[in-house]
Symmetry: D2
Subunit: 377 residues, 4 copies
């Protein structure tokens, strides 16, 4: 049984819409049948035709789409929301209220008020809600989480996490449309770099280690002259239980493409993980032995290994990571339909995880605004 899904956003000119569609296509377990790809209906029509979607399911507005699809017998099983950040809340709310499962790009919302409301609504409606923190989908990230949970590196003591990019190093550098809205407070909220990259860092550390943040001390800087929002951020973190963390996110670090890197130091060992080389992970034991393990090796835990599509040495990457989120989400949606769902099946970032990201951003903004002081969670 293949599921049916719809998409809001992702029209001509959008990068992320196509990326989600490609990731879902990779396994072919869900088919795109409806969309409101743009606020410009011409764009929606053109995109829809290109994608082979029936014209009656190309909608002028997300609100109309939510309503219509909810009423159709063959309506969509879930919606994918890939619009600018500041619009996530209203769109997700409309679909949740229509009783439709939601996948929403991160960051979930622009403030915790919105985030907690979506969280509440999803729970109330008993709907599944995927927030697409892509990197949590990597087999090696899942494996790292399994290793830490099972005590392989002992108790976590300190976490070094960073996510530098260099593409906004110039005042007018910038990736066109993408770069623009990321630097516009109206569309991005009060942060650019930390909101975009810091939420990934917060999520991947939480996913891998299970640590809960107790308080943060942030220094959010605007480096490039003339820019309004932060483009280089330092955060000190204290977690419940006494572990500490140090995060760095940057968009002005020339030479870094998309360098999300996490290093977790426990009292029995260390784990090193790097998003740009997701096929391998380094595990170090207290005796100093450093072992590199590859996706597809016998050592990889079964739960993580289940997401491999190719033998090791045949590189998987970003699309596969995203596809892995959808693999679990789609499996859960199917189980919901078939009445076999249980919460233990969830192996993807949820609306709760999305809300944690927004909380993190808000606490950092408060810390930075007040002169880099500790802000309790």
């Amino acid at each position: 049984m293949r599921l049916k899904y719809g998409m809001v956003g992702g029209g001509a000119g959008s990068f992320i819409g196509g990326a989600h569609r490609r990731s879902i296509n990779l396994d072919g377990e869900a088919v795109l049948v409806a969309g409101s790809f743009s606020r410009d209906y011409e764009n929606t029509l053109a995109t829809g035709r290109e994608l082979g979607i029936a014209e009656d399911r190309l909608y002028k507005s997300y609100a109309g789409m939510a309503k219509a699809e909810a009423q159709r017998e063959d309506g969509i099983d879930f919606v994918v929301v890939v619009t600018p950040n500041h619009t996530h809340y209203a769109i997700c709310k409309a679909f949740l209220e229509a009783g439709i499962h939601v996948s929403c790009d991160k960051p979930l919302a622009v403030n915790t008020g919105q985030a907690f409301e979506l969280e509440r609504l999803a729970r109330e409606k008993d709907l599944l809600f995927l927030v697409t923190y892509t990197y949590a989908g990597h087999v090696t990230a899942k494996y790292a989480a399994d290793l830490i949970k099972s005590g392989q590196i002992g108790q976590v003591r300190t976490v070094m996490a960073e996510y530098p990019q260099g593409w906004l190093a110039d005042v007018d550098s910038g990736g066109g449309k993408q770069g623009e809205w990321r630097r516009d407070p109206a569309q991005s909220g009060n942060t650019n770099c930390l909101g975009d990259l810091g939420t990934h860092v917060e999520n991947i550390v939480a996913t891998m280690t299970g640590l809960k943040i107790k308080r943060v001390l942030a220094k959010m800087d605007v480096v490039v002259p003339g820019r309004v929002l932060d483009d280089n951020d330092f955060v000190m973190v204290e977690y419940e239980g006494g572990a500490t963390g140090l995060y760095w996110t940057s968009q002005i670090a020339i030479g870094h493409d998309n360098s999300l890197r996490v290093r977790v130091y426990g009292d029995e060992g260390t784990i090193l993980w790097f998003q740009e080389e997701p096929e391998k992970i380094t595990v170090i034991r207290k005796d100093g032995s450093l072992t590199e393990q590859h996706r597809g090796y016998p050592a990889i835990t079964p739960g993580a290994a289940a997401y491999s599509r190719l033998p090791s040495g045949h590189p998987e990457g970003w699309f596969e990571a995203m596809a892995n989120l959808y693999a679990s989400f789609i499996k859960c949606v199917k189980a919901k339909k078939e009445g076999t769902f249980s919460r233990g099946m969830i192996d993807f970032p949820t609306v709760e995880d999305g809300a944690e990201g927004i909380r993190f951003v808000e606490a950092c903004l408060e810390s930075s605004r007040n002169g880099n002081v500790w802000v309790e969670y």
Copy 2:
């Protein structure tokens, strides 16, 4: 316009069939509508249903399928052949004779007689023929070829190419079904390792450098006791024009996953390329400066860069490489249908390239059989 394609082979238990389907899905430019997935019709039926194919297009035999699809008005635009090596010839021949474009997994055939016949037939019928040498599809491999063609490393002097794997290091190790037929002369021809891996090496070197082999001296060894076919091979190569090459392929090299590596040394510089890290390429100039370039960088030539689907730092891998072969093939098939095709559009390995691989294997077999002597091409 999305094309329609059929598949021969790729039923339950097959790895490579699913890999081709996923690669084609990634871009969604062709839809699977027909198949003869197995010699076991039950398997074909089950696979076809799972893939949502209409029952009347699930065929008991490839021969029947070729005939029926050729006669349908909505018949397939091309067929994908992913059966064991020894069956490639007959199947491809049937579809070519039916006037259908062909994509066939490598190696193309088990001897040059077969290969040249397919070459002849494709030319005679004026049909497109893709041989899926996956690694030639990597953006960085295409870029390497562009660099060399435009003289960036001067005249090529020597080529070091290797493709070691470790998965058949044990007599009974072995990847189940996959391992089995690879070690069976009846299904694989007179070679295992060189036929499988050596053809990749031959193709990627030819693709990158444009060099034509003049003669080879090969030492094909059976290392694991009890095995019949080669599992570790050395080949010395002389190319037309005076350059030399040294190739190593192995299936008993513990620790290597799928380590196809090519190093090309010219009189003005050097290029280093490694399949397991396909996102980057190293270019060294005579002054010793070593530059690492990533897929997605401005330096990447436009022809190669056109195949990127994600910004650099968002890893692409094996599926994308395969998808790139199909991207060009499908574009050409469309152009054929629309009457806009010209040979210059071909940016994929063809039946001629496939035949070169078989020629290489036959020359090496002769050399090895005769005590590691030079065999002229």
Copy 3:
């Protein structure tokens, strides 16, 4: 002309004494002729005999040695002080007062009072004073400084520097004698990790970038239960002119041997440098091109290249870095003797640099003690 030198500390059981002697031996430009190797005179005698030193120049106390050597016509040209940190001040003072040039291991002293006094004294007596921040001696570190000074990466925006080690990850792990005194407040002052590793970080960043610290915010933690002094430290830094820095030092980071790493991000490019692989340096331009340069390459600036003893590819390491400090120091001492000295000849860390390290530590201690607040310099 070979110089004569003496040593205080470095008897049997000392690691660092032998390391200094070996480094000086490498070039053979100075000969050890006197010593007070231990507070235990038997140790001094035994060490001295083993090293072939005349008995009349083996001293019971550093004070006696300073006096006696100052009076001999063939007295030592300089002294090397390799005793525990808390004794540096008194010993260096004695030799400075005796008019003898000094090389002292880092950290220079245990507080700024001591450090500034040594600085004053050296200036007053017009004596040369080397503080052996080993890593500043690497050819590639000198090259990095040259590149930055000449504007190759534009204006520095942010600096990421870290120095993790793992050898004190356990409460009782730890390198015997060495580990002991490092964890003892009486011998190490009020810090262990930051005093030892943080001073290296402060120095190498200052050496490479020329940046002056304006203020620091430090979080100095004791991670291993039962320990008294810090073993894991985070520091946020603001430099004059607006650049920022983030430092991490740790002794509990399992898997790291001696991993001093500096990354400097400018508005025109980036420099990556790693102490454990000192033979290479990575320079990235704004266009994304990443160039790896090796010690011994034509690109290396002449001032840095002059310190190479071997062609590139023949690895140099820690002894050579230390030897490079001595090479410049000894050259300056000779020039002093010959009346040809000028301050521009100094290419080694001086007492002023040593004092900067102590200032850094004191500011961090104050910040950490007061709840991780900014402390102005």
Copy 4:
């Protein structure tokens, strides 16, 4: 007790003489007291004065030096021969006949006649003879040998060894004096690249694996137009017992500094070793686990670890490798003087190992000359 040694060759303009002296200085267990540094006596005098050697021990000829030093009561304990290859034989012979232990740079001689004669003479005179194959001195190389000898990777199946350099990529490139004699048949024998680099490869493989060569098939090419001697060589090797090897040496491989790399594949695991990164070694087990071990780790075997001078993370390199050869050689010479010597103490390449290198070169020359045929040992 420090030994006394003399040197033949190593005058002004020589690179290797200073390299030997520095390596011996590092430990300070032997002192240079005599020399005939050049055929030009003025050079010998100038070099000797600079090194602080008494004038009566600066000799006009090696023959005179051998005779005079043999007669002095305080004569040298050993001689270091660092002259061009074609002169090694006569000089070593003179010192052996004078009863003086010898250290000679590799390659030992220019033909096996010379090599076997030196071997015979050393045995007859019961003298120690070190051939300075530097790379055999690396702690990690010794560790690799220990691992293989103790069966950690099972039975060796195939060896991939290469030693590419790029410094002679141009017809007139070339390192001045050094480059010149290496390309001159009169001084280098009938080979340049294989004689220089191939002997290192032969030795390090033999040292690590203990394998004995049965036969070779070599292709020795002159790549750079106008050159007389080989600059790019391929060699296929068969060892006794059935293992195989593939060697590549090159001086025209732009981008390689000094890239001696050895990969040993056994039926239980694999060892990867790279001379340019001698601080680490990679060991892979059959289960695919890849472990990187560093010099100084507990896993390093005691016999190898004994040669470490610094903790891991404090890089050691080329001088230390050379110093390690001398450490064992000097220890054996001392033991000879004290009557405590036994052959089991020898942990350095001997005249027998040196002769093996010459045998290898001669067999390769014969193979290449005869059209790349197998030549039995």
